[in-house]
Symmetry: C3
Subunit: 200 residues, 3 copies
């Protein structure tokens, strides 16, 4: 289980780092900016989660491999990736959203905290990497905009289902994959069919 | 005493959540944005305080009622509040400022830390919900502007008086109400008479 | 050793507070804004470091002298400093960068964490005061821009050399001064010769 969590963390971190570094290029940042944005996008959600829960040192401090991997991904993305297909980026980002959300809820439940807080923490872990990335680029976070397709909503729905399956004592690995898969698929469907939320 | 602190926390959180959600509407955010801004405004000051003091998990993680309440307040404010009187908002915000400032100083003193740090922590708890709200809306925090009426200054004055009363061994409940009331009244007077600070 | 760390912390904090308060004036902030920006610039990097490492309460909470010093520096800078030489500011900032970077790496090593993480933490401690200052002024952090002279890079190089000297069991005080001096000198050279990093 721990090994599985570690692999999933690496997948989500790499996917987020690529999206962060490519975003930085759009703003004419140099490699320092790109690396910082890559780190913030990849580590941000999980770091906020760990700080709020008091799980310190935060997750990446204990696993230097994450620091090295993100650095390499940031350099390669910044200097070498010119022909990245947009679809690849979307898929990578949706994978990150799914995995980070379920990890956030899982860690909260491990501390015997309320399932309601676990849902909030799942969404925070899922979206805050992107929120912090947008803040450092000085623009209103994408995820807050009315014209944006469902994003936090996917994280919310998938995390709620994961929590429900857990409450029903379904096998944890199965519940995790179901939750992450629902987030992943719902996000791609939302993009495909341009689903948005009702305005006031 | 603990029950009193809990009630005051709820009052301050609800007042801040309303102001956060209404702010989000001005920026054409969807309900996800409004909910996030409501959470950040309501939980931000206390969360920063708890992180700095090492009081983790942070205050709202241990009380799921706060999460649910803020969510409901955000939805109602976003979809239903069309005719909110501006005066009501100002009063709600001033209540939040007073309560959060005194709570920040109280928790610092409980850890046997210096009264000087308690004053700083009172101000931080009082103003940082609004500072983070403004950052997420990508604008220079209101509270920093020269044309702005006294805001952090009210928090500072009230917290100093609260600390002094405490040092004189005045009854804690009385000292707390005095401090919060001074912040509340001073803020309303500053707005009424458009008081500002001297420029350089 | 502890006394030395304390003195260096004060030097770096004062240098950063001056630069923060003067920055705030450019944005027409009042004294509250200037004081907050001064605190964020002076305490920001070390606070982020302490939160990530779980060293709470954070460093300035335990030393009220830092809070008072920064407040005085902010007031004097805001109301009295009209003829500050630009060179003085640049030198002060470079001193802060050097000291904060080495302190960040030192505290990480004290927790027996990986040298790789210590390097990242050194850079974070060195640059995040300025990053947070720029965020509160709503502009893309200086340090990320392509036209900017080496800044984070100096911190990175000096911290790596400090870590290497440490691994070779060189005397800690000597290693610290060497690392900080390299950062300081490299930063001034980068400014003098307008060195930048390659674009993608």
């Amino acid at each position: 289980m721990d090994e599985l969590i570690r692999i999933l963390t690496y997948v989500a971190v790499i996917a987020s780092a690529v999206s962060g570094a490519l975003e930085a290029r759009k703003y004419n940042m140099d490699i320092v900016g790109a690396t910082t944005i890559a780190y913030v996008t990849a580590f941000g959600g999980g770091t906020v989660r760990d700080l709020l829960l008091g799980r310190t040192p935060v997750f990446w401090v204990g696993d230097p491999g994450l620091t090295v991997t993100t650095l390499i991904v940031a350099f390669v993305s910044f200097y070498r990736l010119n022909l990245v297909s947009n679809n690849l980026l979307i898929v990578a980002d949706a994978i990150g959203l799914g995995i980070f959300s379920i990890l956030g809820a899982t860690y909260t439940l491990q501390l015997n905290l309320s399932p309601i807080v676990a849902i909030l923490m799942g969404v925070v872990t899922g979206i805050f990497g992107g929120v912090l990335r947008d803040l450092l680029c000085i623009r209103i976070p994408n995820v807050f905009g009315q014209s944006n397709e469902l994003y936090a909503t996917c994280s919310f729905v998938g995390t709620v289902i994961f929590i429900l399956l857990n409450a029903l004592h379904v096998n944890t690995v199965f519940a995790s994959f179901t939750g992450a898969a629902i987030i992943f698929i719902m996000r791609l469907l939302a993009l495909r069919f341009k689903m948005t939320l009702p305005s006031p």
